[in-house]
């Protein structure tokens, strides 16, 4: 009997939702060539509505790489607060992601919850 010494990385691909006081959205996290992307399935902030279809394929982010236990995308040069990423995704639990976005020197933190709904992308 053999045991692998390699710990498998958690799989965060799939469908995730966020629904707060300011907007609601559903994203599909996908791995493409080793990089994490977030396809927008639907988004609504009270005025702008985005619905995924074959003609309208939009992403929240692309090109996030696994690093330091999270997925991050690099930005050129650290900010004055020393943050060298624009997006950082960290799995908090099987069904919860902490999604951090650096905006104007501040970090917006949001929790995404996994959705078990099936999804279809084009």
């Amino acid at each position: 009997m053999f045991f692998s010494c390699t710990r498998s990385e958690p799989d965060i691909t799939g469908r995730w939702v966020i629904d707060n006081d300011f907007f609601k959205a559903t994203y599909v996290l996908q791995m493409k060539e080793g990089r994490l992307t977030a396809l927008v399935l639907d988004y609504y902030d009270g005025t702008t509505r985005i619905s995924h279809n074959a003609q309208n394929k939009q992403y929240l982010f692309k090109n996030l790489e696994r690093e330091r236990g999270s997925f991050i995308d690099g930005i050129s040069g650290a900010t004055r607060k020393g943050i060298d990423w624009e997006f950082r995704i960290t799995q908090m639990a099987n069904d919860t992601l902490l999604v951090e976005q650096q905006i104007s020197g501040k970090v917006l933190k949001e929790l995404w919850v996994r959705s078990n709904k099936k999804y279809e992308t084009f």
């Binding site: 009270g46 702008t48 992403y59 976005q101 020197g105």
Partner: protein, 383 residues
């Protein structure tokens, strides 16, 4: 005073923030070459309000209270007090206090051979005077009986920045999307304000006074904007935005800055609005402390000067003043009656909290186009 014109350096420009150095990423970066513009290609097509859209002015009326997200900061309570200031112009402002202010007004104009509505957005924030002009370019009727309006940068169009408003009965959804004046390829959400209309009677009273609403220009932009003063991003040869900037020097006030920026619709040009200067008399307990000064519909304190939390929903303006100042002037103030309440932030936590010191709210009447002053003393009631 430093004037921002064509050859100036990069300025972090804000639609609505308290000090930004970068811009929010788009909520959805489009895939493929079709969606993302690769060069500046302004397209601005005003809505003819002789056909539809004139009702935006009426829909804006009221004291809107709700929640606000400004980039990454969430505010559980926020308010804009929209009242007419002329027959075809409605005005609202956020007064931040020592940090500055931010206004958005909507008015009838002629632009690009159309009778349409423009928005004037800007203010004096962190020492930077900015005014940007937007034009109504689309209207939408949604299935839930709500109506949607979009106003885009009057020069750069939606590629530079835009604001969206949707009204559903007494609910307002107000979002703004910016691109650092065109430096980013795609505008991204910058502000989200969700609100309910409270007490429209003050707006309606102002409407009656000024004869609002009429479909007549409050300001004429039929010749467009003079390009002489439009802000041009470094490296660009032309402006991507209908934006006017000026940096505040030691001796500059909002009047001189308006002149210096080349703003075509200065504060001096606004009818009906007034000014109120609030002076405070400090005492030993509040010396060296920052303070809030609130204008509200209801008294924020009882007769002994203790704060009444239940009345805070009636607040119109809520600036915060740094400790080194003993005076603050409200600009662009709607005439009317107000309670004035000063709250010394004794523990300096930036919030109204236990231990802060106040006084019995004072009543004041503001007449149209007047500069009024009030001195608040007896700030000695510890809450």
């Amino acid at each position: 005073m430093k004037l921002f014109k064509k050859e100036v350096w990069i300025i972090p420009l804000l639609f609505f923030t308290l000090g930004c150095e970068d811009e929010i990423r788009n909520i959805a970066a489009n895939e493929g070459p079709v969606e993302e513009p690769t060069e500046f290609s302004p397209e601005v097509n005003p809505v003819d309000i002789n056909i539809d859209g004139f009702d935006l002015l009426e829909n804006m009326q009221g004291h809107w209270t709700g929640s606000m997200r400004i980039i990454a900061d969430d505010l559980d309570w926020f308010a804009f007090d929209y009242r007419p200031v002329s027959s075809s112009h409605i005005f609202g402002i956020f007064e931040g206090g020592s940090a500055g202010d931010l206004l958005t007004s909507f008015f009838v104009t002629d632009f690009k051979d159309k009778r349409t509505i423009m928005a004037r957005n800007g203010g004096l924030l962190n020492g930077l005077y900015r005014t940007s002009y937007f034009v109504l370019d689309s209207i939408r009727y949604d299935n839930d009986n709500s109506k949607y309006y979009r106003l885009v940068d009057a020069r750069g169009g939606a590629a530079t920045m835009f604001m969206e408003l949707r009204f559903k009965r007494d609910s307002l959804y107000f979002n703004a999307y910016t691109s650092r004046l065109g430096l980013n390829l795609v505008p991204t959400r910058h502000m989200t304000f969700k609100a309910k209309r409270e007490n429209p009677d003050l707006a309606l009273a102002a409407a009656q006074y000024v004869g609002f609403p009429l479909n007549e220009p409050a300001r004429d932009f039929s010749r467009g904007f003079s390009t002489e003063y439009l802000y041009v991003n470094p490296g660009d040869t032309e402006a991507r935005s209908a934006t006017f900037l000026a940096e505040q020097g030691a001796n500059d006030d909002i009047f001189s800055l308006a002149d210096a920026s080349g703003d075509p619709f200065r504060i001096q040009d606004h009818p009906y609005l007034s000014f109120l200067t609030v002076n405070i008399e400090r005492n030993q307990e509040i010396n060296g402390k920052p303070w809030f000064v609130y204008l509200s519909r209801e008294s924020l304190t009882d007769t002994d000067g203790y704060l009444k939390e239940a009345s805070f929903g009636s607040v119109f303006r809520f600036p915060e003043i740094l400790s080194e100042y003993d005076s603050f002037t409200f600009t662009y103030l709607h005439p009317g009656n107000y309670f004035v309440t000063v709250i010394a932030d004794v523990n300096e936590d930036g919030f109204i909290s236990a231990g802060d010191i106040t006084h019995r709210s004072r009543w004041i009447t503001i007449n149209p186009e007047e500069a009024t002053a009030i001195t608040i003393d007896g700030i000695n009631v510890r809450n």
